[in-house]
């Protein structure tokens, strides 16, 4: 299982890996245009695949207002 932190709430979920980033976003109900996924601190394309040891963060793309 890989650990995923979903911002801005800071919610932590565990996902079964290997898992494609696009599938992770779909499971969270997020449009890929509206989220950036960081693996081990670096942005990755939605075609990347999450593996067991990875630290994953999901950031929402939104205007600050």
């Amino acid at each position: 299982m890989a650990r995923v932190v979903v911002e801005p709430e800071g919610r932590v979920i565990e996902v079964r890996e290997p898992l494609r980033v696009s599938e992770l976003l779909a499971s969270l109900g997020l449009n890929s245009e509206e989220a950036v996924v960081l693996i081990n601190g670096t942005p990755v394309p939605e075609q990347a695949v999450i593996e067991g040891e990875d630290e994953v963060r999901v950031l929402r793309v939104r205007s600050s207002g």
Binding site: E33, A48, V49, S63
Partner: protein, 329 residues
Amino acid sequence: MARIPPCSVCGKPAVAYVRPLRKFLCREHFIEYFNRRVARILERARVGPGDRILVALSGGKDSAALLNALADLRRSFGYELIAVHIDLGIRGFSEESRRAVEAESARLGVPLLVVDLREAIGVSIPELARMSRRPTCSVCGLVKRYVLNAAAVESRARYIAMGHNGDDIIAYAIKSFLGQDLESLRKLGPYSDSMEGLAVGRLRPLYMITEKESLVYALLKRAHINRATCPHLDPNQLEVVIKHLMNEFETRRPGVKIQLLGNLARRYRDYPEPREAVAACPSCGLISSGGECSFCRLTRKALGEPMGRRVRLYIRGKLEELGLGGASG
């Protein structure tokens, strides 16, 4: 370790898939792509040596990305940058925005003009909204437009660079179209011209950049940003809803957003010119569509006197403190 697609240019791990290029790009090539898109807008606006560009910084990701890109390109274009930030006095939000802006402009070696509204006119945005009995976002937009223009006039800038990204432009355009406000569509080009002494032209270097690309770039540059959302932002605001619907549309029809932006950039001058005559505000001397400008009217109503002249003097003093003194009169 994650399996990450390789950069289509050099084979290093990709940070993004860039749809218009149909390529995966690594950090280095993504930054190069982003800066090239920004440079194209600067070329189109004929930005060159000796030009002074005032960069509007909110503390958010877009203006941080913009400042980084403009700082990267300043040597090749030969322009001078000044950053400007308006401290809106929104408790729990403005403090972090100001900290982010101060840190980022210092990191990039760009002088920063901070216009603290409570110092300049004696009240914050929420107070001004309450006193004028108008919606906070409407007052905030009006004040920001006025202060940025005043700062640009006073600093003799050729352009005010705004952090509006492509998704923002599309949302404004669709909102204008829904209201059949076609004159506003004419204002949505990548740049606009100045009106001597009255208004400084706008430059939108992130015009062909999506909001997501802007965040990725800011992260790659390790920019200081305030990731919080303004507490006054209504999630059901029309622009927010349009952005979401356009992203759904983009998922079903990839490329639709960039196509719309390209078409708008080519055709915005076909829309009608504003019918109202442009004049100098009798109170502050800046642009007005007849009589007192909207900022002077608003402050007269809420605070008992028009504050435009006072804001201009405040900015002039701040510019002198920074050694950037500009206009007279």
